[in-house]
């Protein structure tokens, strides 16, 4: 009997492995910028890579992607393609893809769609929405920045004043003000996600005006790096991805979006037959948001302590950050 049971278990195991080999779990992702953008798209891409490794490599989790889909109709076509190819989960990684997801998801009720950053699942049972409480990390970065600035001038740069770029900056300003109301925070918006030359000029303008701390939505980091090349005494605070490797002597701390927890849960739910209907919000508390201190930046103890107090306060609810 025992032998038989063991034998059946063995067969089952072989069968399962075999099934896994024959039909890996399949995820497709459509992104507005490059997987290597050191920011929004890369944050999702890195998370997927980690999940793939956890699950046992490409044979267990097949991942397909289409990046640089800044044109929404093209993105919609890609999303529909992946859904019709029978992917288990299709991730539409951009807040501009909402209406496309809403339309396509009704045509493919067996497929899970996840999209963000937004909170709206459109009441569809096969759509997940996800977003990040970017103001939380923004607040922490703001506290740090306020502690470190000598000129008491801080520059904020970004492409356009919307989405998590805006909530991040709102949180950042609250953080700065919580430390010192006398610090000037000035903002520039360039109007373009890709115009690096203008972003650089914006950062240089802040520096020329006396700013010694810069932050902004993640795309702007490249511009600030360019600007800081001429002037080494500038600090940068990042968001979305860990930007320390870009400029080890410039980046102090980054708020990192970690989508792995969310991805694990969505995959498990899908396997259990739940295809959507929920909104995920990354927070410091659920560890979807992490503060990545740049190890090669010599951060003074008092500043680090203040940052950690802020994190603790946000997590335990004693500090409220307005989004």
């Amino acid at each position: 009997m025992r032998l038989r049971r063991a034998f059946i278990a063995f067969l089952l195991a072989v069968g399962l492995v075999g099934a896994a080999v024959a039909a890996p779990f399949r995820i497709a992702v459509v992104m507005p910028s490059a997987t290597t953008d050191m920011a929004f798209s890369q944050s999702m891409w890195s998370a997927l890579m980690i999940i793939q490794k956890e699950m046992g490599g490409p044979s267990a989790l097949e991942i397909k992607y289409t990046d640089n889909m800044y044109n929404v109709p093209d993105a919609a076509a890609a999303i529909r393609d992946y859904a019709s190819q029978g992917f288990d989960i299709v991730i539409a990684h951009g807040s501009q893809y909402g209406s496309s997801v809403q339309e396509i998801a009704t045509d493919f009720p067996q497929t899970t769609f996840a999209w963000g950053t937004d909170v709206n699942t459109f009441g569809l049972p096969n759509v997940y929405a996800y977003t990040a409480a970017a103001e939380q990390g923004g607040f922490v970065n703001g506290v740090l920045a306020a502690k470190l600035t000598k000129s008491r001038k801080i520059g904020v740069t970004g492409p356009v004043e919307v989405g998590d770029a805006k909530t991040y900056i709102d949180g950042f300003v609250q953080g700065v003000m919580s430390v010192n109301k006398g610090i000037t925070v000035s903002k520039t918006w360039t109007g373009s996600f890709s115009d690096v030359a203008l972003m650089t000029a914006a950062a240089k303008t802040h520096i020329a005006n006396g700013a010694d701390v810069l932050t902004g939505s993640s795309q702007s980091v490249v511009g600030s790096i360019g600007a800081a090349q001429d002037n080494g005494h500038v600090m940068w605070f990042g968001t979305q991805a860990d930007q320390a490797s870009l400029a080890p002597n410039l980046v102090v701390c980054s708020q990192v979006y970690d989508w792995t927890g969310m991805l694990r849960e969505i995959i498990a739910q899908h396997k259990a037959g739940v295809l959507g209907g929920k909104t995920y919000v990354l927070t410091l508390e659920n560890k979807g948001l992490k503060m990545a201190f740049n190890p090669s930046y010599r951060l003074p103890g008092f500043a680090k302590a203040a940052a950690e107090r802020a994190i603790k306060g946000i997590v335990d609810g004693s500090i409220k950050v307005q989004p």
Binding site: D37, W189, G191, S194, V196, A197, A201, A208
Partner: protein, 310 residues
């Protein structure tokens, strides 16, 4: 807010403007050569992209900025030869071949970037090179004479291009070929030869424009680094009435408006940001409509040359 128009601010605005204008100058002066000979090269942006990548990658790998610059020029030259082959020898519609060249440059630079580098990296680009004495002049020195070699060269290019186009036998031939190719041909001038040369001059300069972004001003490469600057450069040629001095005016105007709006934002002037960023483009369109002097447009612009058609 306080002291919006202080001396420091003005000098800051001008300094920012000079940096912004540099790639436009290379690209638009180059395009002036191509268009003066009768070829509209809409592929400037693509050339800038692939050359920016080449300059960046070669500098990164070899550690030599000079080699990077050379690589950009070579890439520009090769793309110029391709453009000439398609639009001059094969007489394809110039607008279409230019857009094709742009798509090629955009796609190729993105692909190579992914394969060869993969992620955003930075390098040490050309360092500021203060000019002795001049850079010590108060205000002006800081404003104009503490920037890097590629920026100085961009501004020196203006009188040089003016001189070539207006004073030399080559310039005379280029203009003749653009205005009256049949006349040039009847004097034994090789119309296609001059067009190849002009397009290639323009493309090499577009290549250097790309390099000025990736190894002198921004010191990095990423997808679609130019963000359409090459197309603005083409518009500046019309704006400048096909003259290097006009192009300089256009490039400075476009850049100073940009630089001005950035400074106003930094200083906290109460202009909605989306209006502020629209300003340069709005101004360009308005200025284009007002200023374009069709009379100076090369008469054979966009027309392939065929002997015997009158």
């Amino acid at each position: 807010m306080k002291g919006l128009i202080s001396l420091d601010v003005i000098s800051g605005i001008i300094h920012t403007m000079i940096g912004l204008a540099t790639p436009f100058l290379y690209a638009a002066i180059g395009e002036t050569f191509a268009q003066s000979s009768g070829v509209v090269n809409l592929g400037v942006d693509g050339i800038m992209l692939l050359s920016a990548f080449a300059a960046f990658y070669v500098s990164l790998v070899s550690g030599s900025l000079a080699l990077g610059l050379l690589a950009a020029a070579v890439v520009g030259l090769l793309m110029g030869l391709l453009m000439s082959l398609v639009s001059v020898t094969l007489k394809a519609e110039q607008g279409v071949s230019g857009i094709g060249l742009y798509m090629f440059g955009l796609g190729m630079s993105s692909l190579l970037f992914k394969v060869l580098i993969g992620t955003v990296k930075t390098i040490d680009g050309f360092k500021p090179l203060p000019i002795p004495f001049l850079s010590d002049i108060p205000v002006v020195g800081k404003m104009l004479f503490r920037t890097n070699i590629l920026v100085y060269c961009a501004f020196l290019l203006v009188p040089l291009a003016w001189w070539v186009l207006n004073k030399t036998t080559l310039g005379l031939k280029i203009k003749a070929v653009g205005q009256a190719p049949a006349a040039a041909d009847s004097l034994g001038i090789s119309v296609n030869g001059i067009r190849y040369l002009s397009v290639c001059i323009g493309s090499v300069l577009a290549g250097i424009a790309g390099a000025s972004l990736s190894i002198s001003l921004l010191n990095l490469f990423q997808d679609n680094l130019t963000a359409g600057q090459g197309f603005i450069a083409v518009a500046l040629v019309y704006f400048g009435g096909w003259s290097p001095v006009g192009v300089l005016g256009g490039a400075l105007l476009f850049s100073i408006v940009n630089s001005f709006q950035l400074w106003m934002q930094v200083l906290g002037a109460k202009i909605p940001s989306n209006i502020a960023v629209m300003l340069p483009y709005l101004l360009t369109i308005v200025a284009l409509t007002i200023s374009v002097n069709r009379a100076r447009q090369p008469a054979a612009l966009n027309k392939p040359f065929e002997r015997g058609e009158s």
